[in-house]
């Protein structure tokens, strides 16, 4: 963060303007933000943990999240497995790394399994939200003047966005999730369907301004097909803010899932998510505090990492800030 670093990078950039890709330039700014870099490291570790979780709890069962051992209930972290547990139910290395819960299930195995489920809820929900946002925003910005049933398309889509913004989001999610049969897919879809409005708005704004720029005019003059112009020339230029929003939204989705779990409408057992491990753990806050503090701190760290990375990306992508 010292001024000398600033000076050298700026000099470098001036000396070889074509030599550095925009991604490289982004990375240079991003890595100077220590908080964001820390968040990034956490996220990489998390991705590894989640993949390991998928692998070790489903394909090659090294840690079994589902096996119930009534002799080993509510054991603190790092305790040994008791002698009467049969060999096929013993945890790896005969140690409960993070203790056991009220049914004697291995908390570490459940956290492993839950990391993948929690993350996939976040990513799928955000994937849905961003797709809807980009498609609606893009149509609204690019084909805005066209008419559909005599109505201006831009107007139609944007008024619909306004309508969706009027709903109290969490209350709406809660209503729908409570009425629908509980399933992990319903939760993903509902969170996704209620989270696209901001994206649609700024993608529309982005497309409106891109449409007037010379390179798009040039592409049109060259007679490129419309879908090529939209997907290869305009969309990549509008994608940076979408990525930032997506990163922050994953964090929000994970929090929403844990809030739903708290109210009893989250992912149902036996599937573990960090949210429902935490919400089950709150009943044992005095007898087995690790059941509460481990998933709680895990969610805090991961959500914080997503938020910090998102903010770091926002700052690095902002040319105004970059020049300072």
């Amino acid at each position: 963060m010292s001024t000398s670093v600033h000076a050298t990078t700026e000099l470098d950039a001036e000396r070889e303007p074509a030599g550095r890709s925009s991604l490289g330039e982004f990375w240079l700014t991003f890595r100077k933000d220590r908080l964001a870099l820390g968040g990034f490291v956490v996220l990489v570790a998390l991705a590894a943990f989640a993949l390991a979780g998928k692998g070790f709890t489903e394909w090659w069962i090294l840690f079994d999240p589902a096996s119930v051992r009534l002799s080993d209930r509510l054991l603190p972290p790092l305790s040994q497995v008791s002698a009467i547990v049969p060999a096929d139910q013993r945890p790896a290395f005969d140690i409960y790394l993070l203790g056991t819960d009220e049914l004697g299930r291995d908390v570490f195995a459940r956290m492993l399994q839950g990391s993948f489920v929690s993350l996939s809820i976040g990513f799928v929900a955000v994937g849905i939200a961003m797709t809807i946002g980009v498609v609606l925003g893009g149509i609204s910005g690019y084909y805005g003047e066209a008419r559909f049933l005599g109505l201006n398309i831009d107007n139609l889509i944007m008024r619909f966005t306004d309508v969706m913004l009027c709903f109290p989001t969490f209350f709406l999610i809660l209503t729908v999730v409570a009425l629908l049969p509980p399933s992990i897919y319903n939760i993903m879809i509902v969170i996704g369907l209620t989270g696209w409005m901001a994206t649609a708005r700024f993608v529309r704004a982005e497309f409106l301004s891109l449409k007037e720029q010379d390179f798009v005019l040039a592409a049109k003059a060259m007679g490129l097909p419309e879908r090529r112009i939209i997907f290869f020339h305009m969309l990549p230029n509008a994608l940076a803010p979408v990525l930032v929003t997506a990163t922050v939204s994953v964090a929000t989705a994970i929090l929403t899932e844990s809030a739903l779990s708290f109210l009893g409408f989250g992912v149902q057992p036996p599937d573990a998510t960090w949210g429902n491990i935490l919400s089950d753990g709150k009943n044992f806050i005095f007898d087995a505090p690790w059941l509460f503090f481990i998933p709680g701190s895990a969610i805090l760290v991961v959500v914080l990492a997503f938020n910090l990375v998102g903010e770091g990306m926002r700052e690095s992508l902002n040319p105004k800030l970059r020049r300072r």
Partner: protein
């Protein structure tokens, strides 16, 4: 100006109608009816279910049901499916309970985030700035109920005061001062927890707004004139940085209903969010829809208020242009 306001109001009214139609459709089309709350009850024969459905107009087409709902809502004799009580007084009573929570949280948000944000902006890059940035993100990132439990544990351990509910049982005959103190203690934690994420977001916003204003030329001019730093910051810079926050006031209005389900559930606070949650559990359609309707109305009123206020405060904005 008048024409703008009128046009804007009409537009919002139309939006509100569309919102209510969609909400009505979503709630009714989603599976799960009031008659199915207790499907395992062996005493419920198909005739009984049919009777219940007929009593609540659930056997009629959707648009008719919408008209019934709207008619009853406007005439004020909309009744809850669950207990037959009129819906509007029910909501009003819970609203009065939620109001102190909302006011206390709003006061906390506005009084804490401005000093924090301004201070961080003036000493950009200082230890305070970096620490407050980190704390702000941590506060946004912590699951609300996890944090609430931590706070409840520490407050109950440290001060041994009861914090759950709106008041302590058996305090009704205590002198006024004790009762007031008791109410205040019960209000403190839920208000703090509702305020935390707001403080974090708003102080970040104040900071970035302030940084932008401070780098303006007129601030440099003020400094060059030899004004004291205090005057430059608080008399010249702050005034312009404050402008966008007028709009935030309106945007916080919907928090009155939407943002409090979890907190009211944790603290057993008989507020409007909890009423909505109970209504959802009981599939009490009139109550769910009416709460949702008011929440949407508050959102629209909030954005309307912020548009108008912005035009009033900032002479550069012209309405109806």
């Amino acid at each position: 100006m008048g024409q703008f306001i009128l046009k804007n109001l009409l537009q919002r009214l139309a939006l509100l109608v569309v919102v209510s139609v969609i909400a009505h459709a979503v709630v009714h089309i989603a599976p799960g009816e009031p008659s199915e709350v207790d499907p395992t009850n062996p005493r419920m024969k198909p005739e009984d279910v049919a009777k219940i459905r007929a009593a609540f107009h659930l056997d009629e087409p959707l648009h008719r049901q919408y008209v019934y709902w709207m008619r009853d809502l406007v005439s004020g004799d909309l009744r809850s499916f669950k207990d037959g009580q009129p819906v509007l007084p029910k909501i009003w009573r819970r609203f009065l309970n939620s109001l102190p929570l909302f006011i206390a949280a709003t006061l906390l948000i506005w009084t804490l985030s401005f000093p924090a944000g301004i201070h961080a902006a003036i000493r950009r890059g200082s230890a305070f700035d970096r620490a407050s940035t980190f704390v702000a993100y941590a506060l946004i990132s912590i699951p609300g109920f996890f944090f609430a439990y931590l706070l409840i544990l520490s407050v109950v351990n440290a001060f041994s005061v009861p914090v759950v509910g709106m008041r302590t049982f058996g305090m009704e005959d205590a002198p006024l001062a004790f009762r007031a103190m008791d109410r205040l203690w019960h209000l403190t934690l839920p208000a703090m927890i509702s305020a935390f994420s707001g403080v974090a977001l708003l102080s970040r916003y104040v900071r970035s707004q302030m940084i932008e204003v401070i780098s303006n030329d007129y601030v440099r001019t003020a400094r060059a004139k030899g004004l004291e730093e205090e005057t430059v910051i608080y008399r010249h810079a702050l005034r312009n940085a404050l402008l966008p926050f007028v709009t935030m006031f309106g945007l916080m209005l919907p928090g009155l209903i939407g943002g409090s389900v979890i907190i009211e559930q944790i603290f057993a606070w008989p507020g409007i969010g909890r009423l909505g949650y109970e209504a959802i559990l009981a599939r009490d359609f009139p109550l769910i829809l009416t709460i949702n309707f008011f929440a949407a109305a508050l959102t629209l009123a909030g954005t309307f208020l912020s548009d108008v206020l912005y035009a009033v405060v900032d002479p550069r904005v012209r309405l109806g242009a």
